[in-house]
Symmetry: C2
Subunit: 424 residues, 2 copies
Amino acid sequence: MSDLASLINDLGRRARAAARALAMLDRARKDAALHAMADELTASAETILTANREDVAAGRAAGVSSALLDRLTLTPERLEKMAAGLRQVATLPDPVGEVLREWTAPGGVRLAKVRVPLGVIGFIYEARPNVTADAAALCLKSGNAVILRGGSEAFRSNTAVAAALGRGLVRAGLPADAVQLVPSTDREAVRLLCAAGQYLDLLIPRGGRGLIETVVSHARVPVIKHFDGICAVYVDVAADLAMAESIIVNAKCQRPGVCNAAETLLVHRAVAEKFLPAAGRALLERGVELRAEDKAFALLAPLGSPKVVHAAPEDFRTEFLELVLAVRVVDSLDEAITHIAENGSHHSDAIVTADAAAAERFLREVDSATVYWNASTRFTDGAEFGFGAEVGISTDKIHARGPMGLEELTSYKYIGRGTGHIRT
Amino acid sequence: MSDLASLINDLGRRARAAARALAMLDRARKDAALHAMADELTASAETILTANREDVAAGRAAGVSSALLDRLTLTPERLEKMAAGLRQVATLPDPVGEVLREWTAPGGVRLAKVRVPLGVIGFIYEARPNVTADAAALCLKSGNAVILRGGSEAFRSNTAVAAALGRGLVRAGLPADAVQLVPSTDREAVRLLCAAGQYLDLLIPRGGRGLIETVVSHARVPVIKHFDGICAVYVDVAADLAMAESIIVNAKCQRPGVCNAAETLLVHRAVAEKFLPAAGRALLERGVELRAEDKAFALLAPLGSPKVVHAAPEDFRTEFLELVLAVRVVDSLDEAITHIAENGSHHSDAIVTADAAAAERFLREVDSATVYWNASTRFTDGAEFGFGAEVGISTDKIHARGPMGLEELTSYKYIGRGTGHIRT
């Protein structure tokens, strides 16, 4: 076994032992640990910020994009927000032990379906160091041990953050192995972690296509993918056009770099002539580049902006994550639904319409984690949903779909209580 | 692309199209189809039984075990039971569209969490032809298209059953592609099906270790394993020994060939001297071979039966599926829990005790899909749980654990209804 393989093996073995202990903890002990972890983050601010400055300098030297540098950068305020996030998770109810259902089976055994932790979670993510603390907090509160593997750009920051979290765990009398960071930037470690089936119950990859594909192809345990958001807003024939403009502007521009931002605008042909020039102007004013198919282009070109360009088919299958929007005129609600089925990523899609029947068809037939009627796609988020926190947005259909909070990090078991019941 | 690859590809494409149609069907149309499928099974009885006789003859010629031949054999009664199973699924509530939760998000959007089908399920199983009808019925009722791949021993039977089901679907006006059987016994087809990620939402393998390992190693989509049942009954110091004997005899002997049968008996040392000779006699009378570790062997040997033998360590990690039981004396509840954690398969385990505190510790700390107090492990079953039917018993923790009925074959989506809500 290589050194790296034996390292991953060791992380797995320790995590498995920690998971058994964590599963038995009551809420008070977990919440106390979360507070101790938050305190240690604050106490270690200087160390963490120094490590982060080294990451940012190395990233700048390596020529990473300014968007990535911004996500990578920690400030005293961002660090305080990270600590506040840990304390916020402490206020959330403990999902473990919740009785989901109780009934008497036909044979007389009294059954209960009870929430339990999953066990050991492998969490593989990119760039933002705050994810290290968020994921650790949610896994701990849900009774799971976690092995974290962050992006190499944030390695020094993540190491400092994880060390502080570990001190908090120990101070609270919990096993430090509850939260472990893979102490290597070697890409081979990702492959080894994915294949560590005997120690892991679940892998959660959160990042770009390359990362997700690596994890899926090497995984020997279940994976819940946090993938692309190719989200569409469809403006129906019966839309309130002022509302539609406000929604697409919000969905595209309020925070373009996230997965629930809109990448596609579909407009019914009957309202396109009226809607597109006005909405197009509003979007152009906010710096959005409009990649329009022919019919949409004909309506947007008269705005005279160099930011109105012809769309290629792949523009409708691209997560831009910046101020770019693919625009298409459709003949019908059916065409909009089909477009989304064939081009979208099943994340979040919206219809704007005053026609309740059209809305209900869209809500029913569009197979996405979240579908909206007269609301922005930007609401797909654990905090906005009222989950308190999230590890991310699942684009899978198995186990957890959409925002993944504490409940989505649990499994369940059945408990059967009898008085000598045997099967006949 | 090989012929086989293009065949699997074609099955996937057709299933995906059928799944879209199935997701929109109301309960009445699905139930009508289930009745039509049951009628067609009955109408095709002679064809199906003839095909089955050919399978049984080929199996006998190939020297397959008598247990397997029994599971393979269809009779007019078994066929009628298969048809009755389809009609039974028609009586169950439709899970699709069920509103699991409704609330107003902090930002004012009204959210609903609604059950939806998974899409396309690949179901890979061994031997029993009735699984073909059961799986088809449950997938259809839960709005999913299914691609079935049965064992090669039952290929002729499964083909005849699937053809009858298909006629029922068509008669009811549903797409025949809702239920497809892989028309090949080539093992390569399993590998290709597992890798057909673009068409499948879930793979369910149900069978022996070899089958499960093949599926897991080739899968590029989520897998819910239906694996071993290495189930233990632990007789505690405070057990009612008559109850304990009745439970272990039931758990071992009532139907030894199934996954929820007990394979291991653990006995607290303080009651072993009294319990083991009596229980051992009862088990030996039913033809059970007792593989005992040293302390248990010392107590069982005086019974003077050649069926009392020394256990090897691997006997405690073996799913015998026949009248063989591994027996061990333990020093404490803790030792029993640790034994199960290290040797069991996390399927179903039971404690027999009058001590509520000991029972609650066992129920909490044993990490199995189902844990019992004073009841036989044999109750882990969809029908016994009152689920009406099941595709099997999941030994996974992700998505579905324990008996998988209709609800476990669904996912969910979030529906957000606003009045122009945008995120601030």
